[in-house]
């Protein structure tokens, strides 16, 4: 079973997306802040990371930067899942090594799952 680390401070989103991913056969690891997310990524070595940007304790960009600098986590695909949509933010995320940048408001659950599957090469 593939594991997905979901770094998101909104527990409602954690539950919704977590539940749907469970029915699709994935195991999700929730992390409610940037620091915990980074720690989990290092210890659990998930197959994919879903990362929000506005996070407590550590901003999503800092998490992404650290993930990509770390030899052990740099190859894990990261999907940025946020409601920030300025071109500068999208560019910065891609520059830092994000696989995809998804704006929550524009994507339904099914489309998000599709993107996750694509990022996992399924």
């Amino acid at each position: 079973m593939k594991t997905i680390l979901f770094i998101e401070d909104e527990s409602a989103l954690q539950k919704t997306l977590g539940d749907i991913l469970k029915t699709e056969g994935y195991e999700t690891i929730p992390a409610l802040d940037g620091e915990t997310g980074l720690k989990m990524a290092r210890t659990k070595k998930p197959d994919l990371i879903l990362l929000d940007l506005i996070l407590p304790k550590m901003h999503g960009f800092d998490v992404l930067k650290k993930l990509k600098q770390d030899e052990e986590t740099k190859d894990i695909p990261v999907i940025v899942l946020t409601n920030l949509e300025s071109i500068e933010e999208v560019d910065r995320a891609i520059e830092l090594g994000a696989t995809t940048y998804l704006i929550k408001a524009y994507y339904g659950l099914k489309e998000v799952v599709k993107k996750i599957k694509k990022a996992l090469g399924e």
Partner: protein
């Protein structure tokens, strides 16, 4: 401590003197910028003082009296200038804060709406258990209304970006013809449900344009949506695309309710909705045409319209093909 305060004060004064930066903060042209107006008024005061002194020395013998008159004149003009520019600055600041508020509020509204939408989608997918058909219908209504709110929030965000001159443009080569065809096929269910006949005529061999496809899509979508939405019963929409010199021209003609003569001058204004339109369609915030005009202007084009109440409207825009 005192030394730091003096440096801070000095820096503040220097910042105030940087007129270009101050005007940028309010996103106003130089002529509307309070700081620039204050500078111009300063020059006017100096010129007025010199003129008054010149005239005064010719007609009044007592130099003390002349100096006094000039001093009073300068003081009055200075106070007037200060009051006017202060008022203007407050207005500009209020406008800037309003745009900032829209931006923050819309961002904050987005997250709970995304949560709601995903939860409803989960319930509708039946992955969280079987739902009755009636329940699924209600979830559908909820989802539709959430989508409407999300569209409105997106529009408000675009407006706040336009007002803050932060509308990002990302240009590339693409085919407007294909973009229109995509949109028509996406709108097909709405077109059919509205009993509207649609025709699209792309004249001749059209080149690709170097522009922003996402923004242009939004403009054409707005115009197409309006054309269909404001047809009363059944009617037709004609879309044409052709090359005119160095520009590409898009036009959309409908047989809708048209725009009353007295409303024509307000049609591109923010939040404006024509009176006759409100009779047929209560939905809509009156932002589509305002956004469309701002985008076309930002992309280097121009937008026009002609309309007759009860007969229909034609909107068209031109856009440079290359840089």
């Amino acid at each position: 401590m005192c030394y730091t305060k003096i440096i801070m004060l000095f820096k503040e004064v220097l910042d105030q003197l940087n007129i270009s930066a101050q005007c940028k903060k309010y996103n106003l042209s130089l002529w509307q910028c309070p700081q620039f107006l204050f500078l111009i008024m300063g020059i006017v005061i100096i010129v007025s003082a010199l003129t008054a002194y010149n005239i005064g020395t010719r007609h009044i013998e007592d130099p003390l009296m002349v100096s006094l008159i000039v001093l009073v004149l300068v003081a009055v003009l200075f106070v007037l200038t200060f009051v006017i520019t202060q008022g203007y600055e407050r207005l500009a600041e209020a406008n800037r804060m309003k745009s900032e508020f829209i931006s923050v509020a819309t961002h904050q509204l987005r997250s709970p709406l995304s949560n709601l939408r995903w939860v409803i989608e989960l319930l509708m997918s039946e992955k969280s258990g079987q739902t009755k058909k009636e329940q699924t219908d209600y979830f559908g209504i909820l989802k539709e209304n959430i989508n409407r709110m999300q569209d409105l929030i997106s529009e408000l965000l675009t407006v706040s970006r336009i007002e803050a001159a932060k509308l990002p443009v990302r240009k590339k080569d693409f085919s407007i013809k294909e973009l229109i065809e995509d949109l028509i096929s996406e709108y097909r269910p709405f077109i059919e449900a509205s009993n509207v006949k649609i025709s699209f005529n792309a004249r001749g061999n059209l080149p690709q344009v170097f522009s922003d496809p996402l923004h242009l899509r939004l403009v054409i979508e707005n115009l197409l949506d309006n054309a269909i939405r404001y047809i009363k019963d059944r009617g037709g929409v004609e879309i044409e695309l052709f090359k005119k010199g160095k520009n590409i021209c898009f036009s959309i003609k409908d047989t809708g309710v048209g725009i009353p003569e007295m409303d024509k001058k307000y049609i591109f204004r923010k939040f404006f909705r024509s009176r006759n339109v409100l009779k047929y369609q209560t939905q809509g915030a009156g932002l589509g045409l305002y956004i469309s005009k701002a985008i076309i202007k930002r992309l280097g084009g121009k937008i026009f319209f002609k309309s007759k109440e009860g007969v229909g409207s034609t909107f068209w825009f031109t856009l440079p093909i290359k840089k």
